[in-house]
Symmetry: C2
Subunit: 335 residues, 2 copies
């Protein structure tokens, strides 16, 4: 078996939305059939910038779990686990802190940018600043060979591989395994308002759990072409969110090409196109929502699944940690 | 029982010397009778600046253990444990990283000074830079109320108490306990060469395990008064290491006062004073060395003691971590 090992996951800061669905969840459903996949609910990472708000993290763990199961991530094929349930990850991260300089971590453009965006400056908390080291621990604990990430996260993969090489060289071992980034071919799904990213904080997202009415209200409010005032006006496709979504969700390419041409020459109203997109989204989300509602009735069952997945993940992480400790000569009681 | 809890310990980077004996070991022998004492062999902390040299740390763990037992630290009264054997410490440290800014840690004068002294600059590794946060985890895991430290380490205690207050405030709990520094009344024992600190790297230390001949050779080479060339010359006491040691190790104060007066007015040779100090040190160290040699014969027994102490320490740290996780609402599987 020369199977790839995948580590992926989400920060439980809210229920998952169409951006997650298109950008990562669908990919995981495919990957679980040909890889050994670990899906982590990253509660500790979420805490790094939600220190004051642990309830938010707690409340969203089962929401994320529900989203995973509802879209078809199969707990018999993927280990769904909670980060804080695998204490070996903290031990590994702690060992890795000695393998990176502060300056090296600070050079990570993602950290740099996020620190700037959130106006943290020098007041960045140490946990947030160091989360790429924690991610290196998450990835290497499972000896992941494939890590699905956005293009903006490539420097994090690079840092992880630097740590892997440094560890293996210093301790003359091949315990840790380098990984490859798996960057999705399709770009990110924009927000309803046309912003590049769909996110809870921007309030521009359609959630997998949204009701039919919520979906329709959100589609109605989508950003289109501000110059396209009357149906008869010629419309523009660039930055037109409705058409971007149609490109993603419609399977009938010819029909979409036709709609686009019609829209561009004038005579096709926004509400008509939105109505069509709405139908597609409703059809896509209805079965997911139904499964989600059914699963949500059995909270104990969800917790049991999460606990089982966590035990499975922990067994793997424990195995790696034992090897790491042996390589570091920290195995005093076992010789 | 309103007993103080003490956390103390050493980095296992070499066998312990007279400076440790006077500055901390003797104190621990006293404290173990009236406090609940945890004595940590800080292997992970030692690794923060010995990444490339894990063997050095490993080789010195039992050396330190031997020194502890030989001087009279009683494993039935003090829990002697190894830091890496208590993984809860890494978990706690990781949680605390979110409670301090990088800037706050960098303001720690001990870290600042050590980074400068070792010429690390920006190349300081993250583990070394953050070791005060790791120390906060070590202290709070045992709910230590008293922490014996040198005056230079007071900022570390302050940082620990800041973390304690911040944690208790954010999570509306009284789980963590503030501690007090216990700064020894007597100053540091200087090195044989008159430098302020006795240390392995300076090569100016008498070790608890030194042979009678090694002790005598080191006493003979001690720094005295460079102006005191002939025995008949008047001698100076300031910076005269032999007399500093006599002040510490001689119990007959009147006799020492007499020797000092004689030395100052001239007519008392260095070798004579050194001979007297040698007698005192030999008498102090002979029984320690004998016990040490006997204990060293039973390596398995030493490891067993260390393992038992580690289990005891771990039980306490586990209890604290459970409370911490409950306070942080990370106890998903227990409600």
């Amino acid at each position: 078996m020369n199977q790839d090992v995948v580590l992926t996951g989400d920060r439980p800061t809210g229920p998952l939305h169409l951006g997650h669905y298109v950008g990562s969840l669908k990919n995981r459903i495919a990957l679980q059939h040909r890889c050994c996949q670990f899906v982590m609910i990253a509660d500790l990472q979420a805490l790094t910038d939600n220190v004051d708000n642990p309830e938010k993290i707690r409340d969203n763990i089962l929401e994320v779990m529900l989203d995973y199961l509802a879209v078809g991530i199969d707990p018999t094929r993927s280990a769904l686990f909670i980060q804080s349930g695998v204490p070996e990850l903290a031990e590994l991260a702690f060992a890795y802190l000695n393998l990176v300089t502060l300056e090296r971590v600070g050079r990570n453009p993602t950290v740099k940018q996020e620190v700037e965006q959130r106006g943290m400056g020098d007041n960045v908390n140490a946990g947030f600043f160091l989360y790429p080291v924690s991610q290196a621990a998450d990835i290497t604990a499972f000896k992941a060979t494939l890590v699905p990430v956005g293009a903006d996260q490539l420097p994090m993969i690079e840092l992880t591989n630097e740590i892997v090489r440094r560890f293996n060289r210093i301790y003359a071992t091949d315990t840790l395994v380098e990984c490859k980034a798996l960057v999705p071919a399709t770009g990110r799904l924009p927000g309803l308002d046309g912003q590049a990213k769909m996110s809870k904080s921007l309030g521009n997202a359609i959630y997998l759990k949204d009701s039919p009415d919520e979906i329709w209200q959100k589609v109605r409010a989508m950003y289109t072409d501000p110059l396209h005032v009357r149906a008869t006006d010629p419309g523009h496709l660039e930055g037109n969110v409705v058409f971007t979504y149609l490109d993603v969700f419609a399977s009938d390419r010819a029909h979409i090409a036709e709609l686009k041409a019609h829209y561009q020459r004038g005579g096709l109203g926004d509400m008509k196109v939105k109505g069509f997109l709405n139908e597609l989204l409703q059809a896509e989300l209805a079965p997911i929502r139904a499964r989600r509602e059914e699963l949500a009735r059995d909270r104990a069952g969800l917790l049991r699944l999460l606990r089982e997945g966590t035990e499975q993940a922990r067994a793997t992480a424990e195995h790696t940690l034992r090897e790491v400790r042996r390589a570091m000569r920290l195995d005093y009681f076992t010789d």
